[in-house]
Amino acid sequence: MEAVDLLVLLDSQQFRRLRVIENLLRERKTVSTLYWGQRYRLLYLLGLAKKMSRGALDLPAQALLQQGLIVTGETPDQVRLTPKGEQQATQAYYQPQTRDTWTRLDLMAARQRILLAVQVTSQYAHETKRYYPLATDLATRQAVRRWFHQAKGQSLPGHLFVSLKTALEQLPEMVAEVVTALFTGYQQPGQTVDQLARKYQRTPWEIYLMQLDGLMQIAQDAQDQNHPLRSLLQSTWQSPVSRSAQQTLAAVGRGRSLEQIATARRIKPSTAREHLLEAAILMPVTAFPYDWILTPEIQHAFATALAGPIDSWQYSALPQALQERYAFFYFRLYAIWCDKRGVERA
């Protein structure tokens, strides 16, 4: 990531922690990372750069600092845009249209599958028997092989062409160009992200976001019964909530207490609480049983004790008696609940 890629992830009001952004990109899903990811409205970054090294944002952040585009907060890890930075951040940078849905798909797996499926179908359309397939992992190869075995036929190439065209037409012209140029197929090795970045004078990261946007659009379209990639991509749709957290949540739905759940599932009560927070953050407000856990009494207690904007709330600043009565879990859940309902201050 380059400085400008980081710049557009920052805000002029809210101090944002670099480590949170880094952990989102690297898919380190702690509750704290998820909570702040939600607060920054950056959860779509989850797992987009799993191989990124620790501290990889430090250099771009330094560059922004030197150019006077950001300032640091209480710790050097917290940064905020300066007016000059805000002005630069609003300059043309691609905002993926589909990003709100990214956590609902295993986008990396879908990406691999679509790219290989396009290559395989393209070579098939031109009756090439021997060619080098894109290097992918075994799971992708098997999924594409199964799909192709069942989907192949005279009409497949034409059908796939029309479907891809329809998906890309819903996006800006340049995104359609980028996604197309990145495909590999018959007599088209495909451009690399760096090559396209040079061609369009954008950063590689921005090109990558464009590609993901295009692929997400394709995946969304592929939910249609008649889409040729439907069966290939079906298994890449996923709940953003981990299986384990889903199980805990289901048990709550059956009326169990956290302690009962923890004992039954042989997990620590603290883990059960983390599961619930994870689910609350990643699910729509209506899908989580806030009312069961946050009783009117708890709601009232926090509403009375808390003041100011959400991001300034601190558990340790609450009255001692309240802290003793309600664990951090309830405090955090209350904040999530407020956030999800668009309540920004107490």
Binding site: L115, V118, T121, S122, A125, R130, Y131, Y132, P133, L134, A135, D137, L138, A139, P157, G158, L160, F161, L164, K165, L168, E173, A176, E177, V179, T180, A181, F183, T184, G185, Y186, Q187, Q188, P189, G190, Q191, T192, V193, D194, Q195
Partner: protein, 473 residues
Amino acid sequence: MLESLESSLEKVFGFQTFRSGQKAALSALEAGQDTLAVLPTGAGKTLIYQLYGYRHAGCVLIISPLLSLMNDQVDRMRVAGFRRSAAINSLTSYSERQEILQHLADYQFLFMSPEMLAQPQMLHRIKQLNLSLLVIDEAHCIVQWGPDFRPEYLLLGAIRTQLQQPLTLMLTATAGRSTREEIARQLRSTPTIVAESVDRPNIFLDVEQVADEPAKQVRLTQLVGQLQGPGVVYFSSKQQATETAIGLRQDTGVRVAAYHAGLDSEDRFKIQQQFMAGQLDVICATSAFGMGIDKDDVRYVIHYHLPADLESYAQEIGRAGRDGKPSIAILLYAAGDEQLPLFLGQANRPEADTIQRYYARPQAFSEEDAAIALLAFYRRHGISETAVINLFTRRERERNRALAQMLAYVREPHCLRHNWLQAFDEQSPAHDEQCCSPAGAPVDLAQLGLLATTRTAPTVVTGGWTAQLRRLF
């Protein structure tokens, strides 16, 4: 009674005749003799074990040090029709590895990295297989010493013993006499040697001495601007390859890309395919580049940095002119260039007293240090302190000898080809103006027919993205 080698060749590959070296190697293997095949790049070394695997039941186990390229190798096997092929190395995901292990006995060709094979559980699994052939690919890695050095290669002798000395094929593109002896010694084998001449008469050899680094950049830019492509420029560092690619693109207008092991597999794939499809004129590469390349018309190979030894050099320039047409190998040298391979070689080499102190109190050292990690590796595999000290001493000597030989090539005043071939115990043809140009001697690129006559215009994509998408299907 097995069918003849020629019948198998015809059946599997549709060829009538073997390329030189292939038949000799196969015949030796068929006679049950371990074989060291020293065959130049492009001679079709893989065909030897492919055909052997086809003719014999069981599994061909290929040990290869080139992690990042192993999957390419498997793809090439599949393209060639050998579908029961798989690779296991540290880049293989856990689930994929489990999947392969479950069906281990079903594979006809297994590629494995030395460190994977060195793991006791893995070795245990491999022992249960019916191995028809053990292949040590890039066998010169046993002897070479550099940043890519893999200590596990030194365990291969012991591993081979544990596997009950299976029939073994050692493959390398270049190995002089001492390298051949060392390979055989390390692998505890007395192989039949099949060697083809490394000479490539259509490659003009050129050494150019330049004043310093900036002068080298200028000369490189000039050469890339003048020479008929496609070409490859080799560097010792990823960063330099990347930066120079950017510079050359701006200064010469030719289509350039960098290629090194740091790129992800998708980018490597694309750049390789673009180069093969003629969409790139020049690749700025590290030694990671070349294996997957079946490109006959590479017209020049330039070395920006001094290679660590003549063997790597021979292998890399061997990528030029496979079509037999005039080509050139240029080595750019500035005084002091030998410092880089020296430094790279020393990077993770522990001193003798470090070795002694480590063996006395291993727990006092951190394995974060590459040199200590190396020692820990040997110690865990039961190699004694004395043996390790000897090993490093011998290796150091070998490396210095190799570098001195490389420098002797650079400083050769009369005939580079003579110098080069002598290092491989070969006779050279008489020098003429089509042969070489040592440092200081002028080289007439026009006379040699190596100047660019046509510049390929960049491929113009017509019709926008819809048309491009249409062309895919």
